[in-house]
Amino acid sequence: MNIFIRKKRFLLGIFCTLLACQKEDTIAPPSYVDYFAVQSKSPDKWNGLDSLCDSIYNDYGVKIIYEYTPRILDGTTFFVPPNYEKALEYTRIILRDFWLKPLKENFPVYFQKETPIEFVMVGGYVHFNDITVAGAAAGAGLNAQFYRLGIGGINNFDKTNKTALRQLMATIYHEHAHQQDHKYGRGYQYDRISQGEYYGLNYSSKYTAQANADGFFLPYGGYAPEEDFATSVESMVMNNRQAIAAIVKANPKLETKYNMVHQYYLDKGMDLHRLHEVIDSVIYKTVY
């Protein structure tokens, strides 16, 4: 009898438990997010910029990115996407006509081996940690990668300002120089040239003449060896051979750096003096 009662209580317990289970709401599985899915638009949804990007990809093998997904950019750094009209102009003029087309035509070996396969356009500047905090970069954080180049400030693009266009091209090659630096290294001997003489954050209090006298192409080059290297390239993009020859006379260390960087690029199929001529010719002669 007792066993029977106990069995009944046991079954009652099981039944109650099942009832309790029934009361629970069904837990919905979390929606699946495939962060690595390729999210290309189908051609019927392409806008003009998408078509342009597609033709650039076909012609030069570079994927231009103006819309972000978690696969493109992670969530720890703040990027503002570019304005559509500005991005369209920038892609056509800067990326295709000023950068990739002349590069492929004039420096085919360098183009084939060194051109990044992705280019990210950023409308504002790159903000680290906090979108509200000042201290933004043109391209830092994007360009420490072998395959991708990125540039900020696209929303300020003004195709009528030719001086600014030259600076934009210099910035692209400056940032690309960081990639080359990461990829191959600038070399131990390069860092030895101005060992112990870098300004650090104090670069902002220096003028160009002082920087030249101290052995740097630009004050910003005095920040640290990696910027020294990149500003050397930037200066050679901005100045012709004669102007560079005059600058490097300011300090033998500058001449040493010039020789090293110029040869470094020559070894990869790029004459930076020729590049300067090419860039100036497209900026000043092309109708755009």
Binding site: F128, V133, A136, A137, A140, Q195, G196, G200, A224
Partner: protein, 480 residues
């Protein structure tokens, strides 16, 4: 019956073998017997500069979250905010310092207790005992200034100090209550006075090794002790005695920077505190691990504050010791003085300074200004000995145009610049009752934590690991 015989035989055999085994030491410990043994033990008993982490408690450093190694966050971010619940168990923390100094006290107590009973020349033994007393005093001085309020003649007789252990504990599981700050200082001064007498009496037997106490560093220690106790006349007296013996040579920073230019920053940092080439260092210390873990390398997370960096005069040679810490966007600098930095937190041997001529000079200058009848001319003259080696182009200051307060500020400013990154600022903040505010985001308009003039958190809390080992401390924690 036969079994019983076998059993007895076995017992006899075991007894024989036991006596043989008991003749040998049961592990690899060396029994101390000669004076050389005690000298070697005393060398081991010298503490490292385990207080260098205090730099992140000061206004010299700020936090930059963008470049801190994740494993450093649970330890150093709470410390930066003066919180007690930091992660223990790593190097360069209050917990590590507490354990380290008491470990050294255990060793030096052995020397003090036994060295006079060993064989050897009396003068040599006395010299070693004198040195040992200074080592113990130095360890207690470090402990009491980390884990207690700053010495205050009005309150130190009741302020909680640290446990005073001056004999080798013989109990199985002893407890140690905290002595008062006054009692700890009395013990320190007593050891130093006795040690001074022994070292002066047996000066020819003192070690010439700059990693051991000399008379010059002993007097420099007295100078600091009396500065902290605000006994100005004695501070000046011992400063003069130290400078007289050492010659008062000041670091040639131009030569150091030339080392940086000629070699690289790693070699420069390794050599910066080399006492063999820097006669300004009166007592040096060497460690086998990297003691400045929250500062001094790229991913440490704490860097010289912008206020300090941008306010630093560009014509000051000490400005040349700032180096770029990351990308320009990070806007961080490192101030490297120790070991193979800036980016190797796990380096091996590193040298640190304990007492320097520069400190003696600046202690003297401060005491001259704060003594009963201030001597402004002598104070400025003392500071100028340092300034003329640091400012280029140097221009002499006119004491007649500077008020007493301005001169005191000048001395404090020179201390801050000269000892940046050397773990000295925290003690100045304590003894001069300075306030500090810290931000987690350095550009934030409001601070995340503020340390007031008489903030009880200036006495770092007794570490958890110490409370577990010595439970009586649970009821003797620093008030919060």
């Amino acid at each position: 019956m036969r079994k019983l015989y076998y059993l007895l035989l076995l017992c006899v055999l075991l007894q024989i073998s036991c006596s043989h085994v008991l003749d040998e030491p049961y592990d690899s410990r060396i029994a101390l017997s000669t004076l050389s043994d005690y000298r070697a033990l005393l060398s081991q008993a010298y503490p490292e500069r385990q207080d260098l982490f205090t730099d992140i408690l000061t206004d010299d450093y700020h936090h930059y979250a963008g470049s801190i190694q994740a494993n450093l966050i649970p330890t150093y971010v709470p410390l930066y905010l003066w919180e007690d619940n930091y992660e223990e168990g790593v190097r360069a923390t209050p917990a590590a310092a507490y354990a380290h100094y008491y470990e050294k006290i255990y060793l030096v107590n052995t020397v003090i207790a036994e060295v006079m009973q060993t064989q050897g020349e009396m003068a040599a033994k006395e010299a070693l005992l004198g040195e040992a007393l200074f080592v113990r005093a130095y360890a207690y001085f470090s402990l009491v200034n980390l884990f207690a309020k700053h010495y205050n003649v009005q309150t130190s007789s009741t302020d909680l100090g640290v446990p005073l252990i001056i004999e080798i504990p013989t109990e199985s599981k002893p407890s140690f209550h905290r002595a008062t700050v006054a009692q700890v200082y009395e013990q320190i001064e007593s050891d130093m006075k006795k040690g001074q007498q022994l070292m002066e009496k047996n000066a020819t037997f003192l070690s010439a090794n700059p990693y051991h106490f000399s008379l010059a560093s002993v007097y420099a220690f007295f100078c600091r002790l009396y500065l902290y106790q605000e006994k100005w006349e004695q501070c000046i007296s011992y400063a003069d005695r130290s400078l007289q013996i050492s010659g008062g040579q000041i670091r040639d920073l131009t030569a150091d920077i030339q080392v940086w230019k000629s070699y690289d920053i790693a070699y420069f940092a390794q050599e910066f505190m080399n006492p063999a080439t820097h006669k300004n260092i009166l007592l040096a210390s060497q460690s086998e691990s990297f003691l400045t873990r929250p500062t001094g390398f790229r991913l440490c997370g704490f860097y010289p504050s912008h206020q300090l960096y941008y306010g630093f005069p560009k014509n000051d040679l000490r400005f040349g010791l700032f180096s770029a810490g990351g990308t320009v966007i990070d806007s961080i600098t490192n101030y490297v003085k120790y070991a193979q930095q800036p980016n190797q937190p796990n380096v091996g041997v590193a040298r640190y300074e304990c007492f320097t001529n520069e400190e003696v000079l600046l202690n003297r200058a401060e005491a001259l200004l704060k003594q009963t009848v201030p001597d402004r001319m002598a104070a400025l003259e003392t500071v100028e000995q340092l300034r003329k080696k640091r400012i280029t182009p140097y221009s002499i200051l006119d004491a007649s145009t500077l008020s007493l307060e301005e001169l005191e500020d000048l001395v404090l400013d020179q201390r801050r610049k000269e000892f940046l990154g050397q773990g000295m600022r925290w003690y100045d903040i304590k003894r001069l009752r300075l306030s500090v505010s810290h931000r987690l985001v350095r550009t934030s308009p409001t601070p995340d934590a503020v340390l007031t003039a008489d903030d009880p958190r200036k006495a770092i809390q007794i570490p958890l690991i110490a409370r577990i080992g010595n439970p009586v401390l649970v009821n003797e924690l620093n008030p919060r």
